[in-house]
Symmetry: C2
Amino acid sequence: MNTSDFKNSSQQIPNRLLLGPGPSNTPPRVLTAMNQPMLGYLDPVFLELMDETMELLRGVFGTENQLTFPVSATGSAGMEATLCNLIEPGDEIIVCVNGFFGARIADIVKRCRGKLHVVEGDWGNIIDPEDVENKLNAVNAKIVCIVHAETSTGVLQPLDDISAMAKRNDALLLVDCVTSLGGVPVNLDASGIDVAYSCTQKCLGGPPGLSPVSFSDRAVEIIHKRKTEIQSFYLDMRLLSNYWGKERVYHHTAPISMNYAINEALKLVEEEGLTQRYHRHQLHSQALAAGLESIGIERIAQEGHRAPMLTSVSIPDGVDDAGIRRRLLEEYNIEIGGGLGVFKGKAWRIGLMGESCRKESVIRLLSALEDLLPDVTQLAAVEAAEKVYAAE
Amino acid sequence: MNTSDFKNSSQQIPNRLLLGPGPSNTPPRVLTAMNQPMLGYLDPVFLELMDETMELLRGVFGTENQLTFPVSATGSAGMEATLCNLIEPGDEIIVCVNGFFGARIADIVKRCRGKLHVVEGDWGNIIDPEDVENKLNAVNAKIVCIVHAETSTGVLQPLDDISAMAKRNDALLLVDCVTSLGGVPVNLDASGIDVAYSCTQKCLGGPPGLSPVSFSDRAVEIIHKRKTEIQSFYLDMRLLSNYWGKERVYHHTAPISMNYAINEALKLVEEEGLTQRYHRHQLHSQALAAGLESIGIERIAQEGHRAPMLTSVSIPDGVDDAGIRRRLLEEYNIEIGGGLGVFKGKAWRIGLMGESCRKESVIRLLSALEDLLPDVTQLAAVEAAEKVYAAE
């Protein structure tokens, strides 16, 4: 490489409309927050911002859990953090798998040397609570793990029955809220969810880089009573809670700018109000669905259990998956997601999350698809979406 | 908490001069890079930026190692990433411990179920290569781990002898370059270092949030031949190398803004030139030392083995550690670091790293110390520093 290639170069980052599975577009106020001067990780001003972020996160998680803070890495690290702190070798763990991220939880359970028990569901369908009950009756489970909104399928899992079952069997309920948090209600305390993790770059509208987690007091107690060492130092909650708690004991250098960003993103969530934010995700999702259906693009997720922030659709017969997505990106500056796992090449995943969840996004995407797909009447999809907005 | 507290609030981040153990001040061009629009983690523009970052990192690491990229978490995660990928349960691992971060390596080795063998050194002194040789003769070590610049003591460890010994004993050499990278030469290939990790927020001048790592082909081969699973999913190099390599297989959502930042920070390093950058760290460190000595503040690290970017000093008798550091921060907007571990309450750690490593920093700090410390002649320290600059 010729190093002079870099002289005086500056990055030329295009303005994409991000309608994939995340990241969503980052609001200007959040970008601006990252443009602030650096602080030390023990600076009183930064410590105050940490406390404020914890309180804002409790609000959006719907919890009073003391141990609620953003882990210093992305959502998958949050998944690993919750699991590796709670699981000791040989613990019986039930994992519900009806998509790519349920399978990832199962993978990590094995890496933590838990004894894995899978409850399977079809991709695109919810997990049947009865199957969870049967498994709970068959094994002495310490934890039941389940994904709230499966990013690979667009399914939104009902949690109430499963939460009650876990409680009856004295098992912890651990929920993946990566895609749901900030887009649909996630009421940890009211729903009896003991442990949850999420990300910053989807419905919360931050940049990717942190993973909010929350542990109930009961879960914290289980961590403190472990007989074996937590296998990860970086994700060790006993140590991390001494930095995020009153003790302020150095553990690692927090990603300061990322914390400015999540703090500002959470303030935007707070200012909009959760009810209004959930309504917004619902509305634009309905308009998008109406538009897509009008041009023969069908949703994959089970009816009645569709996550508003992520619409998964079958790619119409004869349509070139990669070709259409490339043209959307290159010619229209719009990103949508391809299929993951068993849906690879068969599905598109369209995200309407956080800042990206707005009427302009729906209209721009439908209009582009009208251009790009064969045998589609111009304006058919846009008009179908407009009807949903008019009825609002 | 009254949620209206947050309405229209904006963060009020003060402009600190960061002269602690890191983060250092972030250059404006790097802050601006983070203020750019979000991209998807498979966007061709982002993939190109990833490739460029890997190439720039190879330059500053002094290596042609293919597997050279920033892990999506802070420096301690880089430490854990290198160790947990290489260590299988029962492997014999030698860890050199003469400070806080050597001790952290030893802790993680145990969490990876490696068989730990410690070579101890006094805090403030280098590790004696002879002690390493003796340990290598006594055990069948798979890896020798050592810290290049100990952030807790300011000691810069010579590596050549130890590298030759490791090679003779067919052990991998794993080096912590968290504080050294970008401030002193780190020539992985020329020095025979097999594995290294660093951070972004010290001498590279980025914000904290990523951890550059580099693995030699030999180390990569060892990872691929493992008989046991890597205990971390998030840090699994076999999976990560499929995202940072040509395959571009989704593993986790990369922290996009952090990658803009490290890319820009590395371009600044490249533009300055490594030789000039190393000289700058040396010069200002000498000026600082001259100033401190002139007012009776003594360095702790062994003479001849002092890391230029981190000067550790004894707190003068009768001086209130926390009080002086608080006044420096509140009245002068200057951060310096307190002591860690056995140096807690006994040492200050003064960093001159990256953007913070400049004459203005030296003069501002010395001048503030002249104000704050008892029985110090005004301008004595500043004049001693100026003499070093004049001789340059």
